[in-house]
């Protein structure tokens, strides 16, 4: 049993695809155990993307991720991190198969519809960054 952090990014929320993406997650059998709609501030976003601080795309990334509300959730299931990464598809939406979230709803390498943790350590850090213990529910599904 594993947990991973998912963000439905502003491009997907703005396009009215939050429900479609959550639907793909639920159909894939991943259980949503915490979820909220948030409009991130620059400070919150910089903290979340701290590892990218020195990268050339950082400024553009901050502008994009704070451009509108996002749906942040914690997904739970066996092998949840890898399963969610497969469901999202590759970072560059133009290279993502049509069966994936990014293939369906992403535009390019930045506006790529969703984020998912890449490893157990980052998942733990990212989940703790956005959620406290009181925000978790017992899974609604078996």
């Amino acid at each position: 049993m594993e947990r991973t952090l998912s963000i439905v990014k502003p491009d997907a929320v703005d396009a009215g695809n939050a429900g479609n993406i959550l639907g793909m997650i639920e159909k894939a059998g991943l259980r949503i155990v915490a979820m909220k709609l948030v409009h991130l501030t620059k400070e919150q976003a910089s903290g979340f993307y701290a590892v990218h601080k020195k990268r050339p795309f950082f400024k553009s990334l901050l502008k994009y991720i704070t451009s509108g509300p996002v749906v942040i959730s914690v997904l739970e299931g066996d092998d949840a991190i890898e399963r969610y990464r497969k469901l999202m598809g590759p970072t560059d939406s133009t290279k993502a198969p049509k069966s994936t979230i990014r293939g369906k709803y992403g535009t390019d390498i930045e506006a790529n519809a969703c984020h998912g943790s890449d490893a157990p350590e980052t998942a733990a850090t990212e989940i703790a960054y956005f959620f406290n213990a009181f925000e978790f529910v017992k899974p609604g599904r078996k």
Partner: protein, 180 residues
Amino acid sequence: MAMERTLILVKPDGVRRGLVGEILSRFERAGLEIVALRLIQADVERIERHYPSSQAWLESVGLKTKEAYEREGLDARDLLGTAEPAAIGCIVKSWLAAYMTEGPVAAAVLSGNRAVEQVRKMVGHTFPNASAPGTIRGDFSTDSPEIANAEKRSIHNLIHASGSAEEAADEIALWFGGEL
């Protein structure tokens, strides 16, 4: 445009069945905007506040339930221990509290032109068996009052939506407090 806000709850049966995304996508497709969203495990106290508890409401709900029993040839006094509408109303409210706390709900505030009425139309009739195809309840449930009453439980109808602009304001305050 008459911009309005309304509250929906994807109820525990909807969350358990993995219908949160499906239900939200229908509202997004209709052009409504999700302005708040949260997965919440409600406690009984919150549900008690969500549904009315005036004497008039309890009597009206109790009377409807009593009449539904009679239509099925069932005796409310035998099954529930009382035939008093207000007392039956209290029992029905306790069923609602049990149903709404049996698992998490997804609470959302939707915004758009005449959102209250629009959302109610898309949700369908209170009883899934009476809901038209194309509505959320009509497409995803066949539950009906005679089964629910015989099993002494609430109708499992997947979703709640505010009934009026005033109700929406109260419910948004209850579920999202100072967030909006």
